[in-house]
């Protein structure tokens, strides 16, 4: 523990952050607004998937419920950043102090993280006693409950109606900073005492329990931290398009984020980030192909709808050949050094 662990592993978050910076610089250099928006989208996915990884990667419990925290965060943006007058129209049931509140987006993101973490603590106290598939289903039930409440609480969330008026932030930098922050939080948790204990419990539950690791408590800590990251992502998502609705934060996003995590490799933080970058890039390339590409004199275009089918097929193929995901359990790190798993091929070569 301590300085040596940090020194041994710091290369991973630094590499990942540099990768993200490279994406941001590309967006800035290209200067096209739709492309810029695409990169923002990718950063949001990175935040979500890294947030999910903090819990799933360390505890080994698949969570279907984390998007609920993004939903909680998204609505914090609606509650705290919309102009008070518009807020009164859309959500008349808000308490007065919230009604009058108008804070900048970064403060809202902090508040969103806090609000999500608070609810993660409350739900977690009950849910973290479960393990395995029962825990997965319980987290899904949590998502469904949050969705049902946010879809129907007319006066506070405007129910299924899109809430508009959230100030739109279209520069890529805040999203980059948040994504880098998420990566570092995830890394810090993973090398912390709690993170190590939780991974030990994941791999050897009986041994860990025997040596006095309180698994539910460790899981709870991971759950709360990951919820905070998801909450921040949810708030920023709202600011990226200026609209929130409950169904944005439901099954679709749940499966997208889980797929990216598993395809990247849920055993490693690098896998979480790389999964997003690879799948997002693939989606983008397929979309360009669908829109049509000039090849010599003729235009080549895929028929509409092929993009999703191709994406599904590619995902299945990746998992067939790399069942533990693209990164498996290895982290991006300096060559000739081993991260905590010995015997893995030098991971940088994977790229």
């Amino acid at each position: 523990m301590g300085a040596s662990v940090i020194r041994r592993t710091i290369a991973t978050p630094v590499f990942l952050s540099l990768l993200l910076v490279a994406f941001a610089v590309t967006a800035w250099a290209v200067g096209s607004r739709p492309f810029n928006q695409t990169i923002i989208d990718i950063f949001l996915q990175v935040i979500f998937v890294v947030g999910l990884w903090i819990f799933v990667g360390n505890s080994g419990v698949i969570s279907f419920g984390h998007i609920a925290f993004a939903c909680l965060g998204g609505y914090v943006a609606a509650w705290t950043t919309i102009k008070p007058m518009m807020k009164g129209n859309a959500m008349p049931g808000l308490p007065d102090w919230l009604m009058g509140m108008e804070i900048p987006f970064w403060a809202a993101a902090g508040l969103g993280a806090f609000w999500a973490a608070l609810w993660a603590l409350i739900f977690g106290l009950v849910l973290m006693r479960l393990s395995g598939i029962a825990a997965s289903i319980a987290t899904f039930a949590m998502l469904a409950m949050v969705n049902s409440i946010y879809s129907n609480w007319e006066s506070v969330t405007a129910a299924t109606s899109s809430v508009v008026g959230i100030p739109i932030v279209r520069t890529v930098w805040p999203y980059l900073i948040a994504a880098v922050l998420a990566v570092f939080v995830a890394w810090a948790f993973a090398i912390s005492r709690h993170g190590l204990a939780l991974r030990a419990a994941r791999d050897e539950p009986t041994a860990a329990a025997a040596s006095g690791v309180n698994i539910s408590r460790m899981r709870l800590i991971a759950f709360v931290i990951s919820a905070a990251v998801m909450g921040m992502g949810g708030t920023l998502y709202a600011h990226s398009i200026g609209v929130v609705t409950p169904d944005t934060f439901y099954l679709g996003l749940t499966f997208t984020t889980l797929s990216m995590l598993v395809v990247g490799g849920m055993g490693s933080l690098s896998g979480a980030v790389i999964g997003v970058l690879i799948l997002s890039s693939l989606i983008q390339v397929l979309r360009w192909l669908e829109a049509g590409v000039q090849v010599g004199a003729s235009t080549f275009a895929l028929p509409g709808g092929v993009q999703e089918i191709a994406l599904g097929v590619v995902m299945i193929l990746i998992l067939m050949f790399r069942p533990a995901g693209i990164m498996g359990n290895s982290e991006l790190n300096l060559p000739n050094r081993r991260s905590d798993k010995a015997g893995q091929p030098a991971p940088t070569r994977v790229l």
Binding site: I62, I133, A134, A138, N152, V262, G304, E308
Partner: protein
Amino acid sequence: MGQILQVVFDALSLGSLYALAALGIALIFGVMKLVNFAHGDVIAFSVFALLWPSVDAVAIIFAGNLPWFLLIPFVLAIGAGLSVLSEIVVFRRFRRANPATMMIASFALGFVIRYFLLMLFSSRPKSISLLPALSQPVEIFGARIPLLQLITILITMAVLIGLTAFLRRTRFGLEMRAAAENFTMARMLGVRANRVIMGAFALSGALAAAIALILGSQTGTANIMMGANVMLMAFIATVIGGMGSLAGAVLAGFLLGAIATVMQTILPPDARAFRDAFVYGAVILVLIFRPQGILSARGTKERV
């Protein structure tokens, strides 16, 4: 009296749907620990099979016009066929993968099926007049219920009895139960894994097609998302029933149907919109008190 009976029928018919779907998921989970998220899309695919080979909004050219005694086997065969095909093409290669990987693979497969249907048929719901004679109401002990509701319940009962007999009385059924209980052990004792797994997929697919027929005649439409909701409830039923326990899955399916129906009946109007929140709250409660499920199967217990 009539009122209560009516509610009982409502709960039973909704529960039947969930139970049939849960059975389809539990069968596959039992033999290969795969939570098959493509199940809902197999349901949708089977419904759309009725429209083939036309993709037009109203024209039913071939399958949908078959007499019922040909139509039903046709649809069941489509469901079973697609399910077995997905085993051969995709899931066979995931036998040794961990459950999360398999689950995401099944989700990806479902995604492919769904978008394939979307590309062919577009998202506008298609109308199918499937077995219209079943839309007549009948009267039983003062409760007027649609004939279809009654038939759904009866079919489910018949399927359950048939399946129980099959699993208990035939060699194949015995192998399947043995495999569900302890796959490695069963293999060592000479159970042919591929055959059992294919059998489970075929049965599961046929069950999906049966749901497709019921949903199709009940709603009169084919739409790409029609299996999704039933699949989710079935998935939950499988877990709270005790993963791998077929009886538990069925029981939990009926339980969920009952909870949803009773909530809809007793909640005051303002709270009715929040019905699902109450239903899922109940799911969490069940899990807290019976984390292994209502009827837990041996061999699927988590160690910690």
